[in-house]
């Protein structure tokens, strides 16, 4: 495939870290959706999505964040987003995500934010 996409999962204490790499588009978004769903199925509602190696995102990728956030916050959890490159950040900003999600520089900053703000109003 011309533009590969991959996901790596890890744990930071009791937080789930989902690191995205490559091209998150309408074709690959279902993979990201499955990754989040499997965390919820396991009862993990405190999720950090790392985007340091994410090179592309479209509305289909952002739609995955939107699709889960209400359920996650109703359970007292949250999705914190970190490591956006400038071009990916531009997409988040155009769609108004900084008002809805905590967006941090890196994983340690996201871990810290979870300690300060475990969840947010839907």
């Amino acid at each position: 495939m011309a533009n590969p996409f991959s996901i790596k999962k890890s744990l930071e204490g009791d937080l789930s870290v989902i690191a995205l790499e490559g091209f998150l588009d309408a074709h690959t978004a279902p993979e990201f959706e499955k990754a989040i769903q499997s965390e919820l199925d396991a009862g993990n509602y405190r999720i950090i999505v790392g985007c340091e190696k994410l090179t592309y995102i479209s509305s289909a990728g952002l739609g995955v964040f939107m699709g889960f956030i209400e359920e996650i916050r109703e359970k007292g959890g949250d999705i914190k987003i970190c490591g956006l490159t400038p071009k990916v950040r531009q997409v988040f900003e155009i769609l108004g995500f900084p008002a809805l999600y905590d967006i941090l520089d890196d994983v340690p900053a996201a871990v810290q934010r979870f300690a300060e703000v475990p969840t947010r109003e839907v």
Binding site: N3, D25, G63, M66, I94, A99, L100
Partner: protein, 137 residues
């Protein structure tokens, strides 16, 4: 002038092929990363919009990327479509609304509106064409 074009199947599985077309275009077009990203994004958003919303349509989708003066021009043609201009007929998105009042649809078109310099739509004999312009300077 640089021009590439292709007919691609109307399903999301064809998206890698659509992106390869953009890759081939930018391999020879005099446009940098600041133009490439919005063009790729707009191309994906319009293509997926057609695939998702014109479920009755049959046949391939035609995509054409070319340079014209200082613009990159992207044309996406659906040869079996009712009249629907995704830009002006789609409901507007209010990105200032709180989460629970937002609708998930329309985000892609909102991105296209923000990232392209000009958007045109034409429709005749069930053929709809969306043409996007992005300045290279």
């Amino acid at each position: 002038m640089t021009e590439v074009s292709a007919s691609v199947k109307r399903n999301l599985g064809a998206l890698p092929e659509v992106m390869r077309l953009a890759e081939a275009f930018f391999a020879s077009a005099p446009a940098g990363a600041s133009v490439r990203f919005p063009v790729e994004l707009a191309l994906e958003e319009i293509f997926t919009n057609i695939v998702r919303h014109n479920r009755e349509g049959t046949g391939a989708i035609r995509i054409d990327l070319r340079t014209a003066g200082q613009d990159v021009v992207i044309s996406i043609t659906d040869f079996d479509a009712p009249r629907f201009d995704p830009v002006s007929d789609a409901p507007p998105v209010d990105i200032d609304k709180p989460l629970d009042e937002r609708q998930s649809g329309g985000l892609g078109i909102h991105l296209v509106r923000k990232m392209m310099d000009r958007i045109e739509y034409s429709h005749s004999n069930r053929t709809g064409t969306i043409t996007l312009h992005k300045r290279m300077d």
